[in-house]
């Protein structure tokens, strides 16, 4: 290190050596003096601060003037490069300029001496040192501000030129250095090696070292030796350590400085003022003291020594310090401590104070840029002192010549500068100071620039200046900002929303990932109870449907909904006629059943209580003729159906009293069922008086009637009751049926002109079994049911035959052609034939009687073409429809000759026997055979002369018949029991008998019955059920009757007419 340092411009300065020499000479008791000095220095420094400002300012100012003047001159004119270089160097050392001035002569002498002695070795060493030095400088330049180097190349070169060629070379190298900054580290290492090597290997060094030792006192020697070692380490030490070292050295230096204390202070004060930082001055007095002390001491040290030395040492110091600082990071704290310890051993006790001061100082230095700058400078000095000291021991004698020369040059320059400075006006200086206070950062770099070249520590200044620059900038900006802030208003802006991206909901995410474009999911199936979910499905449409297999009826399927059922209801079809048929039948049955029940419950008692039951009958019932419309009407006629045995029709005359009803002038026919005596089945009305009536032969649904006006009337009982008028009587509605067909007013040419006597159906149905051979069409007619004829006989002997025609279709609107037909009726009568009975009869048999009256007519059941007609002359004519000749033309009574005897009633036997009974008005009763003119038997006095008004064979017993006479007596004849007279006689009184009919049913399962329907004069109708003996059919009764019939002719033949009469009379 030491040799290298010497090489540069500072090479020539053996500052340390010189200093030490001086110090050795000047200061006797170093230690004691040190202490004194420290104290003194402190006091002085305190004083300095005040002094600088108050007392010493003028001096300083003068000096500065001198310093500045050349500076400016050099810059402006650049006349004297050398001077410039000197000045620069001087600038670095300005502080110490005064010391230099005074010490110069002495130092010069010493140096010259030393140089002379070392002149021989000098050249060789120089080269080595130059190399090292170069490297060091490179490092230095690299670490210092390159800017500085670049900023001052000219000056440096000038300086070098002025100083020596060697230096020029070095400087050139140095100029190159900044560009080689990259290689710094390598160089550093090399340096280190060299340094080590130097200290140990280089004989010159050793020699110098020894020389130095010799020259110095022992104490110094020891220190130096240790210092050498330390220095080697010191490169690795941290800055603090180096500082301490520096302080130690300062202490040593201070011994030397002791003499120049006053001057030193002055110079240092000047320098400080010049570089003057406000902060520096404003610093705490204490710290300022310390700092000043430290700074002064160091400066003093340098100042006390030769200028060259100082400069060089500065350069070295920078280098070393740089190394230190660089290696600070590398060096461990321990090594530093160790070194400290070593130092501590070496350092004398007196030094501790200073060391403390140094320590105090250090932190302070970093507080401010200015201080830093100074510290850098000073510390470097200290280091330099160190190195210088060690160097000086070796080198003071090594490089006497070159140094001498350089020193001389420097001294000259310093002198010149001093002179210039003095020339400067104090005012200017003050001004400058003032400005510096304002704009320190600016001033400082300038000052550093001016100084740096002189002492070679411009690198140091570069960092400082850099710091200052930044500082100044910061300050500038700060001031700027403060000023600007007054002008502008800063405010908080609104909060700008740069981006507001809402979170994507699940659905969108789902759609983004899985959905297709242009599709939207409308609904999602969800449970019914999750109504709060926004996605819901419509209700599912459900419908219940049923079906049936196999289908019954029109509806085979349907649904629960009304719509469905309504659909279904359209389908059913009701067979209305069938239903009505069914209902009608059912109603009939039900009604009959009900009636029977009623009868069974109370008939006997009722009848018996009324004592209606005749002796000949087991029981009796009364048809309810108490109905409003039947009251006060007498029954004129009764007729029982031959087919439907229980059906009885009663013909009621006009009421006796006025009833004030529309029915009053009409005749009423009631169709009864004898089992339902409570009321008539049908009620028929007729305009004219009905004289006779009959039912249709096969089924009793047609009722024919003949009127007094000669008309034939037909009622169709099947007709709907709605087409007939209907009257409400005593909360019961009754339908009064109008005649379906009436011959009134039509067919007047053929119609009857006189009251009708009888209406008889012409049919074979009754006797079908016996005479089916007779008419091939009879069965067909029977099956058709409605193809039959009706014969109507009036009093004048006109017999009309009518054909009953059933229209296929009813015409509600009425028929145009069939005028007698009721609208909606289907039955009409067509006139078939007319037979005039009266004329013929009168022609043949009744010569004296003019015209005979026909009273009754009966058709032969076995052959309907034959008929017998009862007349009023006691004869019964026999005729046919076809006008054929019949064997007996008439049937005569046993009495010969014509008499005025009316044959009121005639009746054929219902059992097919060709016999008939005839009752006459004289009370005679005749039994005729169809084959004989004369009667089989004749009973004249059976009724005691009362006219026979009614006669009827029993429907149940072939040999029995019932007779009614005008005396209201009923006779029961049983031919098998007695052929002489009636077996029973029953007079009907007090209510006289008006009309009578017999009905009965032999095949009835419950036992045959024979009912005698009696119409009384009071208008009541009784039904007398005859006793069993008459009702029940007896075994082989027909054979017995036939036998009876065969015997009768013989008997009759014997007796003849008179005989019979005789017998009868008996």
């Amino acid at each position: 290190m030491e040799p290298g340092k010497r090489r540069t411009k500072d090479d020539t300065w053996k500052a340390d050596d010189l200093r030490r020499q001086l110090w050795a000479v000047q200061s006797g008791g170093a230690k004691e003096e040190k202490k004194h000095r420290e104290k003194q220095l402190r006091k002085e420094s305190e004083a300095d601060i005040t002094d600088h400002k108050e007392h010493r300012d003028p001096d300083r100012d003068i000096q500065r003037h001198r310093d500045r003047a050349p500076d400016r001159e050099a810059r402006s004119s650049k006349e004297n490069p050398r001077r410039e270089g000197d000045r620069e160097r001087y600038g670095e050392r300005r502080k110490d300029s005064r010391d230099w001035e005074k010490e110069r002569p002495r130092e010069k002498h010493r140096e010259q001496d030393a140089e002379k002695s070392r002149s021989k070795a000098k050249d060789r060493e120089k080269e080595k040192e130059r190399r090292l030095r170069r490297e060091e400088l490179r490092q230095a330049t690299a670490h210092r501000d390159l800017l500085e180097w670049e900023a001052w190349p000219d000056r440096g070169e000038k300086k070098v030129r002025s100083v020596s060629k060697v230096r020029i070379e070095e400087k050139e190298r140095r100029d190159e250095d900044p560009e080689r900054g990259d290689e710094d580290r390598e160089r550093r290492y090399r340096e280190r090696k060299l340094q080590y090597g130097d200290s140990k290997e280089n004989p010159l060094k050793y020699w110098l070292y020894k020389e130095g030792e010799r020259r110095h006192r022992k104490k110094h020697r020891e220190k130096n030796s240790t210092r050498e070692k330390r220095e080697k380490y010191s490169k690795e030490k941290n800055s603090l350590f180096s500082d301490k070292e520096g302080e130690e050295r300062h202490r040593e230096i201070r011994h030397k400085e002791g003499f120049h204390v006053d001057e030193r202070h002055r110079s240092s004060a000047e320098r400080k003022e010049r570089s003057s930082k406000e902060e520096y001055r404003k610093r705490e007095p204490e710290s300022g003291e310390h700092r000043n002390q430290g700074a002064h001491l160091r400066r003093d040290g340098t100042g006390s020594q030769h200028a060259e030395n100082l400069v060089r040492s500065n350069g070295k110091g920078k280098d070393s310090r740089r190394k230190h600082s660089r290696e600070e990071g590398q060096v461990s704290g321990k090594s530093a401590l160790r070194q400290n310890a070593e130092e501590a051993v070496e350092i004398e006790k007196e030094d501790t104070d200073l060391a403390n001061a140094g320590v105090d100082e250090y932190p302070v230095t970093f507080e401010d840029d200015f201080e830093d700058y100074e510290d850098d400078f000073e510390v470097c000095d200290g280091d330099d002192d160190d190195s210088n000291r060690s160097d000086s021991k070796e080198k003071t004698e090594e490089l006497p010549l070159a140094r001498k020369r350089e020193i001389q040059e420097i001294q000259k320059a310093i002198n010149a500068e001093n002179e210039r400075i003095e020339e400067l006006s104090s005012q200017q200086f003050q001004k400058q100071v003032w400005l510096e206070n304002d704009k320190d950062p600016r001033a400082d770099p300038n000052s550093s620039h001016s100084r740096a070249p002189v002492c070679g520590i411009f690198v140091d200044f570069a960092t400082a200046s850099r710091r200052q620059k930044s500082r100044t900038q910061a300050l500038k900006q700060k001031s700027r900002s403060t000023k600007l802030l007054r002008l502008i208003d800063l405010d908080f802006s609104l909060t700008f929303s740069l981006l507001d991206l809402p979170p994507v909901n699940e659905y969108d995410m789902y759609i983004r990932n899985f959905g297709k474009k242009n599709t939207k999911q409308a609904y999602v199936q969800y449970n019914e109870d999750n109504v709060e979910r926004d996605i819901q499905t419509e209700d599912i449409e459900t419908r219940e449907v049923w079906t049936q297999h196999p289908g019954e009826g029109a509806i085979v399927s349907g649904g629960s909904e009304e719509r469905e059922t309504s659909d279904a209801t359209v389908v059913p079809k009701i067979d209305t006629p069938r239903l009505s048929n069914f209902l009608r039948k059912a109603c009939q049955v039900i009604a009959i059943l009900l009636e029977e029940d009623r009868l069974a419950a109370e008939p006997t008692c009722k009848l018996r209580t009324q004592d209606n039951t005749l002796s000949i009958s087991d029981s009796a019932s009364q048809l309810n003729t108490g109905l409003p419309f039947l009251q006060n009407r007498k029954v004129s006629c009764l007729h029982a159906s031959q087919v439907q045995r229980q059906t009885v029709v009663s013909v009621h005359d006009l009421p006796g009293k006025g009833f004030a009803q529309p029915l009053d002038h009409r005749y009423i026919l009631c169709v009864w069922d004898i089992w339902q005596p409570s009321g008539p089945q049908k009620v028929l009305i007729c305009e004219s008086k009905v004289t006779c009536c009959c039912f249709s032969p096969f089924k009793a649904f047609l009722l024919f009637a003949g009127t007094v006006h000669g008309s034939v009337v037909v009622w169709d009982l099947r007709e709907d009751s709605r087409i007939h008028p209907y009257v409400k009587l005593s909360n019961c509605s009754w339908t009064f049926r109008m005649p379906t067909f009436s011959t009134d007013g039509i067919l007047t040419s053929v119609n009857h002109q006189s009251p009708l006597q009888a209406v008889e159906p012409i049919s074979t149905s009754v006797c079908r079994k016996q005479s089916f051979v007779l008419s091939p069409f009879s069965t067909e007619e029977g099956t058709s049911g409605l193809s039959f004829h009706i014969a109507s006989l009036d009093e004048s002997g006109v017999l009309n035959v009518w054909v009953v025609v059933e229209l296929p279709k009813a015409d509600i609107a009425g028929s145009i052609s069939d005028l007698g037909l009721i609208p909606g009726g289907r039955i009409k009568l067509v006139h078939s034939a007319v037979i005039q009975l009266g004329g013929r009869l009168s022609h043949e048999d009744s010569e004296f009687w003019g015209t005979t009256q026909t009273l009754s007519i009966k058709f032969l059941p076995s052959d309907p073409s034959h008929f017998i007609v009862g007349t009023d002359v006691g004869l019964i004519n026999h005729g046919t429809r076809q006008d054929l000749k019949v064997s007996p033309k008439s049937f005569k009574p046993q009495q010969c000759g014509l008499r005025a005897v009316k044959v009121n009633v005639i009746d054929f036997s219902p059992f097919g026997e060709p016999i008939f009974l005839a009752g006459c008005s004289d009370g005679s009763l005749r039994l005729h055979q169809m084959t004989s003119e004369w009667p089989l038997a004749q009973w004249d006095g059976s009724t005691r002369g009362h006219a026979i008004t009614g006669l009827q064979w029993s429907p149940t017993r072939p040999a029995m018949f019932l007779v009614q006479d005008a005396a209201s007596t009923v006779y029961i004849w049983d031919l098998l029991q007695s052929d002489l007279g009636p077996v029973a006689t029953q007079p009907i009184s007090p209510d006289r008998l008006v009309a009578m009919t017999v009905t009965g049913e032999p095949e009835r399962p419950g036992g045959s019955f024979l009912a005698l329907v009696l119409a009384r004069s009071s208008g009541t109708v009784d039904v007398q059920y005859l006793k069993k003996q008459w009702a029940a059919t007896q075994v082989e009764e027909i054979q017995w009757l036939r036998l009876f019939l065969q015997e009768a002719p013989t008997e009759r033949g014997h007796g003849g007419c008179g005989h019979v009469t005789k017998a009868m009379c008996v």
Partner: protein, 147 residues
């Protein structure tokens, strides 16, 4: 969600300020003249800048898929590009700060906001958002006037 941001700022030209003359010269007149308002033509115009940013974003990011590895570089590049563009537009004495945030679109919600302490008369900002299926990009450009 992965987000990466790149920031790039362009310092204003300090030249005018930097060349503070020697202390001596200025010491005489401490009165400084400051430009307190930008020239109208050089004002920070958000609409223009927004368009510029938008076109740039479109060009850069159209069809770009988010990738965690490349996005940091992408943001840096984008911010640099945008900053350069803005500088080219000649907003004199403006310090531009461009912030680019790119994030992946994964359905999360994002809210970005900015707040400035500035001189509302001169300073302004603009921002633009670019989004595609995989990423969103928010560019905020702040212009602060340097007095």
């Amino acid at each position: 969600m992965a987000t990466s941001a790149g920031m790039s700022s362009a310092g204003p030209s300090f030249s005018g300020v930097d060349v503070l003359p020697e202390t001596e010269k200025h010491s005489g007149d401490p009165e400084n003249t400051y430009i307190l308002r930008p020239i109208f033509q050089q004002r920070f115009r958000p609409s223009v800048i927004k368009d510029c940013i938008h076109t740039l974003l479109k060009a850069e990011l159209a069809g770009t898929e988010y990738s965690a590895e490349e996005t940091p570089q992408l943001t840096k590049r984008l911010s640099e590009n945008i900053k350069d563009k803005l500088k080219e537009m000649g907003f004199d004495r403006y310090k531009m700060v461009v912030q680019v945030v790119i994030g992946e679109q994964r359905g999360e919600g994002v809210f970005m906001a900015a707040r400035c302490f500035w001189d509302a008369d001169t300073d302004n900002y603009t921002h633009d958002v670019f989004m595609n299926d995989s990423l969103f990009c928010v560019v905020a450009a702040f212009g602060c006037f340097y007095y």
